[in-house]
C-alpha cells in the first residue's frame, strides 16, 4: 500500500471541497482572521487588493513571502496566492512556501505574453482564469485543477463576470447539443484539445470545479454568479473596500449558500452600509483591462 501525494485527484479534490463557498482576498493576517470568522472557505493572500493594484499602476508582482507566511500562520483554512501569468519561478517560490493553491492571475502583470505556466510540473495545484470554454480547456490542458471565470477585477462591477460565466455555460450547452463528428471542428474553432472538448460534451460540465471571480461587491452579486452556474465565488476588493467588511463578508457567504432563496438574500443584505464604490467596467480603456490578459 503505497501512498502517492500531489495526484490529480488530490489537486482537483481540494477545489471540490471548496464548492459552495467564498474565497476572499486578504492583505494582512488580521484580514485573514476576519475572512475565516465570516465563513470564508479559503483566502487569497496578496499585497494589495485588485482595486488598489489598479489605482497604483506600475508592475504588480507576487506578494512578499513573509506576508504570505503570516497569513498561513493566522488561519486554518486553505491559503492561496497569486503568481504572474507565465512566471513559473514565482510559482516555484509559492510552492516552496507551502501555499495550498496558486492562482496564475491576470490581476498581476503578465510575465510571458505567449506561454502560461506548465502546471503539471508542480506538486501544488493551480487555479486559472478564463473568459470562455476554449481558454478554460487550454488552462486545464496545462494542468489547472480549478477554473474561475474572469470578471474585471477591482471594479466592483459584475458585468464582465456575468458575460464570461454566460459565455462559458452556453458554450458547454452548445457542445452537448452537437453530433460527435462535429466536435473535431468545435475543438479547432475554440482552440482547445479535442479530448477535453469530447469530455465536456459528454459530461455537460468542465472537468474541474469552476468559480466566478471579479466584480462581486454585494450579496446579490454572489447569488447571481451562483444562479448562472458558478460553483462558488472569489471576492476581492468587494469586502475590504466596503464600509463594513465583517458584515459584508458574512452576508456574501450566506448569499452564496442560499443563492436560490431571495428572502434570505434580502435578509442578509440589510444594513451592510456602503459597498465598495467601484468603477463602471465600460469606462475602463482597453489597455487597462485585466480580464483580457491570458492567451
Amino acid at each position: 500500500m503505497t501512498a502517492e501525494t500531489s495526484t490529480w485527484a488530490t489537486k482537483k479534490g481540494l477545489a471540490q471541497m471548496l464548492k459552495g463557498g467564498v474565497i476572499m482576498d486578504v492583505v494582512t493576517p488580521e484580514h485573514a482572521k476576519i475572512a475565516e470568522d465570516a465563513g470564508a472557505c479559503a483566502v487569497m493572500a496578496l499585497e494589495r487588493v485588485p482595486s488598489d493594484i489598479r489605482a497604483a499602476g506600475g508592475v504588480a508582482r507576487m506578494s512578499d513571502p513573509e506576508m504570505i507566511e503570516g497569513i498561513m500562520a493566522a488561519v486554518s483554512i486553505p491559503v492561496m496566492a497569486k503568481a504572474r501569468i507565465g512566471h513559473f519561478v514565482e510559482a516555484q517560490v509559492l510552492e516552496a512556501l507551502g501555499v495550498d493553491y496558486i492562482d496564475e492571475s491576470e490581476v498581476l502583470t503578465p510575465a510571458d505574453e505567449t506561454n502560461h505556466i506548465d502546471k503539471h510540473a508542480f506538486k501544488v495545484p493551480f487555479v486559472c482564469g478564463c473568459r470562455n470554454l476554449g481558454e478554460a480547456l487550454r488552462r486545464i490542458n496545462e494542468g489547472a485543477a480549478m477554473i474561475r471565470t474572469k470578471g474585471e477585477a477591482g471594479t466592483g462591477d459584475i458585468v464582465e463576470a456575468v458575460r464570461h460565466i454566460r459565455i462559458l455555460m452556453s458554450e458547454i450547452r452548445r457542445l452537448q447539443s452537437m453530433r460527435e463528428d462535429e466536435l473535431f471542428v468545435a475543438a479547432k474553432e475554440m482552440d482547445a484539445p479535442y479530448d477535453l472538448v469530447k469530455q465536456v460534451a459528454a459530461e455537460g460540465r468542465l472537468p474541474v470545479v469552476n468559480f466566478v471571480a471579479g466584480g462581486i461587491a454585494i450579496p446579490a452579486d454572489a447569488a447571481l454568479a451562483m444562479q448562472l452556474g458558478a460553483e462558488g465565488v472569489f471576492v476581492g476588493s468587494g469586502i475590504f473596500k466596503s464600509e463594513n467588511p465583517r458584515k459584508t463578508a458574512e452576508a456574501i457567504v450566506q448569499a452564496t449558500l442560499h443563492f436560490d432563496n431571495p428572502k434570505i438574500i434580502a435578509e442578509v443584505s440589510k444594513g451592510l452600509g456602503s459597498p465598495m464604490r467601484g468603477i463602471a467596467a465600460a469606462t475602463i480603456p482597453e489597455a487597462e483591462r485585466l480580464a483580457v490578459r491570458g492567451w
Binding site: 500500500m1 471548496l18 459552495g20 501544488v124
Partner: protein, 212 residues
C-alpha cells in the same frame, strides 16, 4: 427512502451522486425544515470552520443532534468527521458531539501533503478501499465503545464507528466507492422501518458495486 446531505458547502454533489447511484433519494440540507422525512444524514468534506459557522447561523445544531440521538445513521467524511467529534485537538468547541474521539485537524499538513492510497476496511469486505486524503484530519484518541474501521499502515486511525455514527478521514465519494454509502443506506432502512430488513439500497447491501 431519503438520506440528507448537509449542503452548507463542500463536496455535496459527489455524495448526492453516489446516493442516486445506489437508489437512495438524496436531500440537500441547508435549513432545519430540510431534515423532515430523512432517515440518515451525510456530513460532507469541506472546511469545518465554515460549516461550524453556518450550522450555528441556520439553527441546524439542535435538530441534527436530535436526529442523531433518535438513531438515524450519520456519516461524516473529512470535515464531516471533525464536526461529529466530541473533542477537537487545539481546543475548538465541538459542533455535533456525537462520537467519543479526539480529532486533529489538518493532521498530515497542508495541501502538498494530501495523498491517496489503498486501505483495508474489513467491514466493507476483502477488497480494500481507495482512500483520498485531502488536508485530512486524523483520530488521535478512540474512546470506549468506538469501533476502529480502518487504520493507516503506521496504525493511525482514519475510520471509526460508534453505534449509528460513522466517521472517515478520507473521501470515498471522490473515488467512486459505494460500499460505505450502501452500509449507511442499510442502517437508514433499519432506522426507517425497524425489523424490515435491508431492501433500501435496491441491491444486496454488501455487493461491491462501483459508480462508473
Amino acid at each position: 427512502m431519503k438520506i440528507g446531505v448537509l449542503a452548507l458547502h463542500g463536496a455535496v454533489i459527489e455524495h448526492i451522486q453516489i446516493l442516486r447511484a445506489i437508489g437512495v433519494e438524496p436531500v440537500p440540507v441547508r435549513l432545519p425544515e430540510d431534515l423532515e422525512g430523512i432517515s440518515g444524514l451525510i456530513l460532507p468534506g469541506g472546511e469545518s470552520t465554515t460549516m461550524r459557522k453556518l450550522v450555528a447561523r441556520w439553527g441546524l445544531r439542535e435538530p441534527i443532534m436530535a436526529l442523531a440521538r433518535s438513531g438515524a445513521p450519520i456519516l461524516g467524511t473529512c470535515a464531516g468527521m471533525i464536526i461529529v467529534a466530541m473533542e477537537i485537538a487545539g481546543g475548538d468547541e465541538p459542533v455535533f458531539p456525537l462520537l467519543d474521539v479526539t480529532v486533529e485537524r489538518n493532521a498530515f499538513g497542508r495541501q502538498l501533503d494530501s495523498f491517496e492510497t489503498d486501505l483495508a476496511m474489513p467491514i466493507l469486505g476483502d477488497r480494500p478501499v481507495h482512500a483520498i486524503f485531502i488536508r485530512a484530519p486524523i483520530i488521535e484518541r478512540v474512546g470506549p465503545g468506538v469501533e476502529v474501521l480502518a487504520r493507516l499502515p503506521d496504525q493511525r486511525v482514519v475510520a471509526v464507528r460508534q453505534r449509528n455514527v460513522i466517521a472517515i478521514a478520507f473521501h470515498p465519494e471522490l473515488a467512486g466507492e459505494t460500499r460505505i454509502h450502501r452500509l449507511v443506506a442499510t442502517m437508514a432502512a433499519e432506522y426507517a422501518e425497524p425489523g424490515e430488513g435491508t431492501e433500501a439500497a435496491g441491491t444486496e447491501p454488501w455487493s461491491f458495486g462501483e459508480v462508473t
